[in-house]
Amino acid sequence: MNKLIRFIQLYLLIGLPFVIACMIWSNARTENEVLQSAGFFAKASWEILSWNLMLWFAVLIIFLVILVVVPSARENTLRYLANLKERDEREEYITGKAARAAYISTLSLIIFFLFFSVFSLSVFFMPKDQLHKKRITVAIHVGINLLEGTKPEIIPQGEVLFATKNIMPSSSSILIILLAWQLLIFNYTARKEQKMS
């Protein structure tokens, strides 16, 4: 299993420049342009790169599943990404402290994002013809949705001055923020602890 994982890692690493090359090439020229105008060598290269692209993404999916399922693969691969150093007991202690700080701060960030996904605040500017005494209206909406697509759309009666749903980042952005935040806090705390000792 370990040999297979190492082979997959090596292939993903070696294949990455070819994947990037294929993406750049496909942006510069369409498939039809390449196949119609280019010579044999260019056509063959295009075919090889295209097949490599498909294979690379298939292997990447397998690798991501392995990372989730196999603990040893996760440990070996992600320790480099997380910059984990556990050569002796003091470094294990520092890792523990940094992991605690990263866990707590990430938890607070998750709670923050959860709050803004459940509650949304909107400020409307009501038109004059509406029977409202106050022209500026503030509305608070509450709702939990399990799926992204099932969110009910709130249609304002007036002009929207401010709505928190408009400034909320997308799910991908939230995941990137959480990932970066966790790595940042972990590494910052680990460095701080190392300097202190």
């Binding site: 050569r87 002796d88 007991e89 003091r90 470094e91 202690y93 190392q194 202190m196 000792s197």
Partner: protein, 77 residues
């Protein structure tokens, strides 16, 4: 309910023992199986070692644990 106790300040004579033996921090680190940074932290008093490491250090210097690690004013010669 456990009684909250004040933090114990533990001193050590690792640096003195090391100088007496004329060995470097790296030599001691290699002998007890830790990094040099850990020996630096121990000598500065910034890190309290585990019981296992305490035993390994005492075994290396061929002396009692109490002669290496002590509370302020409680040092045994």
């Amino acid at each position: 309910m456990p009684r909250i106790m004040s933090k114990l300040t533990i001193y050590n004579s690792i640096q003195e023992l090391r100088h007496a033996k004329s060995i470097t921090q790296q030599d001691l680190a290699d002998a007890v199986g830790v990094t040099r940074a850990t020996i630096v932290a121990l000598e500065k008093g910034n890190y309290n070692p585990s019981l296992e490491l305490v035993f390994r250090i005492a075994k290396f210097f061929k002396t009692d644990i109490e002669k290496i690690f002590y509370e302020k004013g409680a040092r045994r010669e």
